[in-house]
Amino acid sequence: MNVRRNFDKNLQELQNKMNEMNALTVSAFEKAFNAFKTQDVELALRVIDEDTAIDNLDQEINQFAVWLIAKEQPFATDLRRIIASLKITSDIERIADFAVNIAKSTAKIGITESLISITNLEQMNEISMNMLKKAVSAFIDGNMTLAKEVGALDDQVDNHYMETYKKITEYLRIHPEETTQLVQLLFINRYLERTADHITNIAESAAYLIKGQIYDLNQ
């Protein structure tokens, strides 16, 4: 007799809710960056609207995890899984907030000649989304190699961040008339750098689940 059937079902339900929240966040991020690239303000506004669904899932997952701790009093991998789920959910929620921030910046930039080509923002976005896939798979499949790869990719994002910062500030010196857009690009640069940090946190939570130790992959 499997005495854990109900608990295992609940853990799967927790995982499903997280998958749903992650899928919504990835979609929000892709839309936000697309809107930014194509200066599609309408799409940007939709991203801002749709964030409520992600926030609601965040709350739902938190309450469910707390209830699971109270009723199952979990130990070992079960305990680590629930704790990691709580932390990962809060990181995903922050990532979704950065998608909203990018959308808001997009709305502020409006329709104008895009200066995205002077930056490395597209590369940063691409690497970050790749990192997110790896970090979430590391958690779901218990894959430590993927978790470590995320740490390495975060270093690439950090390098792009520094480079982009320099490029924008230099351009600003020569073209002060572009201040409005350039300030927003600086913000987006920062949002992407922070997004990659939160994704690294997710990989760290995955590593904690797998190995039972605290890892610092963001060095």
Binding site: R4, Q73, A76, D78, G212
Partner: protein
């Protein structure tokens, strides 16, 4: 949160125990630390209570028990000495169900000291009060010391049992599922008491309640089929066990 290694109070080496032809403990070795709480966990029939009872030779009372290996308490191999009374004075025991004698609270606690030959009323009064205080039950029973101990609640009776054990001034207290017959509040009182007692005593506790093991103990040994599978600081055993069988047991996959 790793606890520092303390002084070894009881050292068990290569212990085998047989009930007739049936072997119940296999090559058990572990060091129990002084003034710490050591929890023994494992499914029914895994040998944890059998092991606990070897520590004060309670198994000697069972026919056909054969024991190989060493159990050393402070440089003395307890199975090489013949003074079992002295051993049981040093290593007291509290059982699953409160087992008070049908006599007054006072007489229950004074029973051991009287058997040791203490007759002075003044001295006995002192021992009874100190023991009941030590067991965190004095305030509840001080006005009814002469009434029958069996009139107390289960939780109070268990704490009087602990008082009776500490009246003998033991160094080690063995507890065999001391709260399994108690309600949650009485259980917490006994757990609170265990935390106080470990300042003065070395405690070894068998429990089926894993949350209890996690709450009260410094180190935990996981027994399975008469063997020790894992013995580590409690935090590690419950948050990151090394052995898959420990993981499966503490997460309820078997047992």
């Amino acid at each position: 949160m790793k606890q520092s290694e303390g002084t070894t109070k009881i050292s068990v080496k290569d212990l085998d125990l047989f009930y007739g032809d049936k072997q119940a403990l296999f090559n058990v070795s572990l060091d129990i630390q002084e003034k710490k709480v050591t929890a023994l966990i494992g499914p029914s029939g895994c040998g944890k209570s059998t092991f606990l009872r070897t520590l004060n030779r309670m198994n000697d009372l069972i026919d056909g028990v054969k024991i190989n290996g060493d159990i050393v308490i402070e440089n003395e191999d307890i199975y090489k000495s013949n003074d079992v009374i002295k051993l049981r004075t040093k290593v007291g025991m509290v059982f699953q169900k409160p087992n008070l004698f049908p006599m007054s609270i006072y007489d229950n606690v004074a029973y051991g000291p009287r058997a040791q030959g203490i007759k002075s009323r003044k001295e006995l009064n002192k021992i009874v009060e100190e023991s009941l205080r030590g067991a965190a039950i004095w305030d509840e029973v001080k006005d009814r010391l002469k009434s029958s101990a069996l009139g107390l609640s289960g939780g109070q009776q268990q704490r009087v049992c602990i008082a009776r054990a500490i009246a003998m001034k033991p160094e080690v207290i063995l507890m065999d599922e001391p709260t399994s017959a108690l309600d949650p509040i009485s259980t917490l009182k006994v757990e609170e008491l265990i935390a106080q007692l470990k300042k003065d005593y070395t405690i070894v506790i068998v429990t089926h309640n894993m949350q209890q093991a996690a709450r009260v103990s410094d180190k935990t040994a996981f027994f399975l089929s008469g063997e020790i599978i894992e013995y580590d600081v409690t935090n590690s055993v419950f948050s990151n066990p090394k052995d898959q069988r420990t993981e499966d047991y503490v997460t309820g996959r078997f047992g």
